[in-house]
Subunit: 451 residues, 4 copies
Amino acid sequence: MWGGRFDAPPDPRVQRFTESISFDWRLLDADLRVADAHAAMLRARGLISAKDLAAIRRGVASIRRDGEARKLVFDESLEDIHTHVEHWLRERVGAAADKLHTARSRNDLVSTDLRLWMQDAATALLAELRALVRSLAKLAARNVDAIMPGYTHLQRAQPVTFAHVVLGYAEMLLRDRERIRDAAGRANRSPLGAGAIAGTTLPITRASTARALGFSGTLENSIDAVSDRDFVAEFVGALAILAVHLSRIGEDLVLWSTTEFGFVAMSDAVTTGSSLMPQKRNPDVAELVRGKAARVIGAHVALLTLQKGLPLAYNRDLQEDKEACFDAFDSTLASVECLQVVFESLTVRVDRMRDAARDPALLATDLAEALVLRGVPFRKAHETVGRAVRTAETGRSTRFAVPGLTASEVDVILDPARSVRRRHLATSIDRVRGLVARESEWRVGARSDKA
Amino acid sequence: MWGGRFDAPPDPRVQRFTESISFDWRLLDADLRVADAHAAMLRARGLISAKDLAAIRRGVASIRRDGEARKLVFDESLEDIHTHVEHWLRERVGAAADKLHTARSRNDLVSTDLRLWMQDAATALLAELRALVRSLAKLAARNVDAIMPGYTHLQRAQPVTFAHVVLGYAEMLLRDRERIRDAAGRANRSPLGAGAIAGTTLPITRASTARALGFSGTLENSIDAVSDRDFVAEFVGALAILAVHLSRIGEDLVLWSTTEFGFVAMSDAVTTGSSLMPQKRNPDVAELVRGKAARVIGAHVALLTLQKGLPLAYNRDLQEDKEACFDAFDSTLASVECLQVVFESLTVRVDRMRDAARDPALLATDLAEALVLRGVPFRKAHETVGRAVRTAETGRSTRFAVPGLTASEVDVILDPARSVRRRHLATSIDRVRGLVARESEWRVGARSDKA
Amino acid sequence: MWGGRFDAPPDPRVQRFTESISFDWRLLDADLRVADAHAAMLRARGLISAKDLAAIRRGVASIRRDGEARKLVFDESLEDIHTHVEHWLRERVGAAADKLHTARSRNDLVSTDLRLWMQDAATALLAELRALVRSLAKLAARNVDAIMPGYTHLQRAQPVTFAHVVLGYAEMLLRDRERIRDAAGRANRSPLGAGAIAGTTLPITRASTARALGFSGTLENSIDAVSDRDFVAEFVGALAILAVHLSRIGEDLVLWSTTEFGFVAMSDAVTTGSSLMPQKRNPDVAELVRGKAARVIGAHVALLTLQKGLPLAYNRDLQEDKEACFDAFDSTLASVECLQVVFESLTVRVDRMRDAARDPALLATDLAEALVLRGVPFRKAHETVGRAVRTAETGRSTRFAVPGLTASEVDVILDPARSVRRRHLATSIDRVRGLVARESEWRVGARSDKA
Amino acid sequence: MWGGRFDAPPDPRVQRFTESISFDWRLLDADLRVADAHAAMLRARGLISAKDLAAIRRGVASIRRDGEARKLVFDESLEDIHTHVEHWLRERVGAAADKLHTARSRNDLVSTDLRLWMQDAATALLAELRALVRSLAKLAARNVDAIMPGYTHLQRAQPVTFAHVVLGYAEMLLRDRERIRDAAGRANRSPLGAGAIAGTTLPITRASTARALGFSGTLENSIDAVSDRDFVAEFVGALAILAVHLSRIGEDLVLWSTTEFGFVAMSDAVTTGSSLMPQKRNPDVAELVRGKAARVIGAHVALLTLQKGLPLAYNRDLQEDKEACFDAFDSTLASVECLQVVFESLTVRVDRMRDAARDPALLATDLAEALVLRGVPFRKAHETVGRAVRTAETGRSTRFAVPGLTASEVDVILDPARSVRRRHLATSIDRVRGLVARESEWRVGARSDKA
């Protein structure tokens, strides 16, 4: 395909080293869409005949069908998906295939393909993320009265509800949704027509292929269009933050599933046993979700490091963008899916939570705030209650004695349920439900392109 | 400040290990702004007296003045900036200081401070980025006719103009601008009032402090508000992509400054010499800009890894967010500033560029496209020209002989300036200038909050 | 210092951007040692006079004294520590200072300095690491009978002793010791004399300065000597693995300090309180140790990414090696120190551990193994016991009924202390103590240089 | 395989998420070796019968044969390679298979397998690395007189030989060899017998399996043995440094292949063309080698981040260790192999190098050193020559006029070949050849285990 300039074929080790078909086959659908759109434009500009266009269309449709039927055969010596498509096309429609690559280069083509793939990937991920947030909202709705300790530094801090915790996850994921939409939206501009680096002398129109492929516009500068992979780094960066969020949820689930906490029990569907220890039921999904974050971070690092210090424009190093991107996407998507299963089948042990929340030290802040309402400066109130806690802890008293509050006032304050109600928290359930319900909140490309 | 619960002081090594004042002093201004806004709200809700508010305001103003005059004394045993401010306030206004921490915690406070700092940081960075893009636009305007080889794989590919290359940089930076705005905009919501984890039983209003501090709204969920640092990871992620872009510009500048390329010469103001070799003039700024990208990537990794697998809510690990964030910001900002100096004082060697662009192989694609216009399928045209190149290269001919084109047709095509004109490139200068001119494009927080 | 080639001074922003004195002052001691050794060699080779040598020695001694007395003044315009030393020397001894830089370059000098610094840093770190392992060995010795559950997947797995767990930490740290020694040993070769890239035409002897500075040999190839920072990446890589180990210890300490686990209590000396919640006692040191791992990983990434794709030989990017290295070292050293304090003041709640270890499910594996000893194939024994656990768990029986074992046989097996004894574990205490005792195990440079 | 504790099967999405057979099939050979050794030990300790042992051996041999013949069928529902082996064994030899898992767990098994794999991997990598160093030594031997400019900051610095540069690469790779040997040597201890976390009550002997499998000893502490993956992080860390070295070589090759430098030409076997531009011959291998470094760094980050903050002992997150490790190994190995092909078929353009080395500024340091030999202090000599360079550069003189040197003295000094000879460089070729020749230098496990 490189034409007449070479005398000798590549060394087989080199061929294996440089091929990308083993992973860029995932761009098949995008590459075929581009073939259709590009051929139509070439025809409209008089660069190919109506007959050629018909042949290309027929060939593309045939390849698509064979792809769906898994009948396509890949060949390492054909390097990448673009060469495969051209090759398959030639097998099907002969000479017309030789005209498809008119006024385009693999440099602009691969960036176009990857951007199209990303739109689909983001759409799929947002759908699963929406389902996960919906699961969380349902779980919250079922547990608005489930009092448990809130933790800071993993020490019991103040009573909260399980709904409140779960809605905290939802808020994190709602921001991830925004980041993914922003990344996909910013990537949604067409490099097609940028050629290898400097466009073409042929009379093409870039706007028409951009429109046909659903892009919101074209990338103006051809050098930028072929050489930058910031859109991949941004997308995977958004995935990395999402994966880190999921890892935190995973950590909580692992902790809560311990005998010691015992706040939740996972179903058989999401736990595994031990090959040695007969009694074990392990929260493997939650652990793997935690571990996958490391992998996505690693992919993100690879993408940033890859581009660091590269001269403009296209360099072959950039071929390394795809595996990292695909792997980060697959890992994140699967984590989101599996956490849905976890949350949908989760047993919440409301009684264990309630028992833990009975710890009176959790209400120390409420006691201090009660003193504030009686006119004690907060810093003094804090110290007073701190002493009372220490006294109770050392066993010198069986209850909190707080100067400035009567024993019955203290007792009233020490009711965790009342404490939670006093603080008007966890009201964001309606907000979360509203966002989950609204279709447009989960649509890629809805972002208005500011530039 | 932790009140009455502790018998013994911290170990000195531990104190040094856990203090943050050595870096979070940068949050002084934000902490004072929060003090003012919080005190005003406490007064409005009847939680402190008018006299207390006046005292706090007076104290805050005094601290601010002393800060500007660099008269504040820091003390490691006072842990962090929040404790320092409370301490300085007590020195100045006595008992009223004990009331400032009513209904707030360092957990919500530090997140509020950092978000405010980030708005200022993003504003400063966008201003410098704008200046850099303006420099690039000027440089492009001066070099619209400077023909040079465009490179792919660092091999000469096709003729372009220097303006075209430089505008490619501008496009990259314009997307960075969007990412920074998006990150700052998404961070621009107030955690204040979330308390340590679960809000407060006192009758505060969160919306009023949010408004007073210029936030676009509040973070709804108190657990989320104190425990998530996704906004730091996103901001530094945007910086990392920007830093990688700058590293690519740095690489180009290093290459072009070599004796071998010789396309540009940097001024004495941005180069350094050698302690050993008298003749050296080294492109240190460009090299360091390239190196700084590694540092910013490292900071980004630290921030993601830091949060991976942490249980909700606040954990002390999160204290590590600030140094990485400050360092990434400082490194990126300085790189942007110094590249301005480089571009403003750059000598462009138009003649060296032109000489390099005379290489006839750069027009091989144009020859192939000329064949296409005569009806030759592109794949065949590509092969024909490839053979002609090989023939010329092996010295068997002194010029390109392309079957299907006359010698004089070939000669016309082999003019690089004509080639560039045929391709209608580098027209984005007006677009870039327009965006640079428009103030609103460079304003933080202009982003409409979608959620 | 760059001599006569420049007309104009650097731009002030550029000067601030390129200076390194704000961090490479830490190389002062190394730079002075090199000055002494280099001057002695120059004299021995007749390149400077005896008088010059005496002057340089006097000047170096004076700078050293002033450094110890903190009387040296740094100046950003003097770029780096090497220029400062030459400048201070000139102030003290005049013209002799102009001869010190004979036959050396900052390129070989900075690598020499950093390698010397690393030997000291590794020595200091190994001493602290040894102290930490000693603390762990003591803690283990005091807790050989403290039975607790061993966890896998954070689910209770089998009974172990606290000593066994703590000695597990020791084993990890003993490997870290080896890695640090290997890294420091491999770095312990002298680049001095490599000059800027290609040595010198002057008749120096490289071996003599190498010997005088305590190096185990010279780096043969001058280009390699000035351009590679693999030794920094390897050292910080070893620190990163150590920091990750410490983060795992930190995580365990955080978990065990929870109310739910309650296995240990940390002293006031290593915990902190809350500004809002009077009752809190937070395991901040353990959390920060966990967080510091992220920072050290970030530094390691920065160092690898920094060097990726750099052409030989020295490039200014390499200046970025030092801050990452110093920061990783400081963070790791402080973590090791503070964990000593934690372990030395740790209260082990043997009763809480024992209670947790009473869970009969922990002995399920022992039951299965008892069946194996009676001839039941393991896979079948595993299944039999698994069913018994499920039956007991669902409350259909108050005790384990295991077909093939009598109730009293089961009872004997269900004693966790006996189980631990049967397994002959935690015997590595002598091995650990032996290694701690042996001085040579903790010495840098003991490594015999294989190449 | 988890026996009788579970009622319901895993959710299919969870099964796909948690399976590892899609990548841990690479441990098949190791797993079979362990099966043989473990069964022999069980027999020696009377835990299985001679008949069982014979059956297991027969089964293992059969599986091995089928593996080599690619006749084994994998099944996602059988999770991992260990379960597959047990399953295949049961298919072949029935009940004896149920006894193989006696006194072992997948926790100790997987760590054993991976360590065995690593020994083979390191052996294979060292063999290729040796071949690469041999290629470099040959290339150096052919080019000891090829004078070229040495570069610092990519500016021409001083004349060197091409041999000198190439031997610099060899030195870097020789240290990589040491790091890989150290990492593999440190990993070469047996976890087998550690069980799930706490060994076994059955009377096994750990030393015998360790010996049979070629380990240098056992890991003493069972908790450490199953939970630590420092050996993977260290190995991949060594690969990352190697990959970074290769990336620097790749960068040099890319630079030298440019039209502007023109120092080397790569063969058709290692270059590729363009789908659009007929004239292109791109150094893709060198570029991809550079890019692969990013990927290996990413894998390293993933491995460190994965383990950060994990509680002891085995957690399912650790399953993520293998893909990162395999991928880093494959990428590095392939890079080493392909660079061999590059260097073996490299055309060195000695004339282009010589022309570039004629630049008289390259000898400025030699001029300054000549002044030193005449008694001028170096700093003054440096300045004098610096001025001469500037004067020559500005065209005010056609040659260097150096006060203190006659024109003919200057002329003698300005001969680059003489300069190189004066500096006695590039002599390390014998050292490199010697190390390449010695078999033992390239053997894994030769490292004497210090602990």
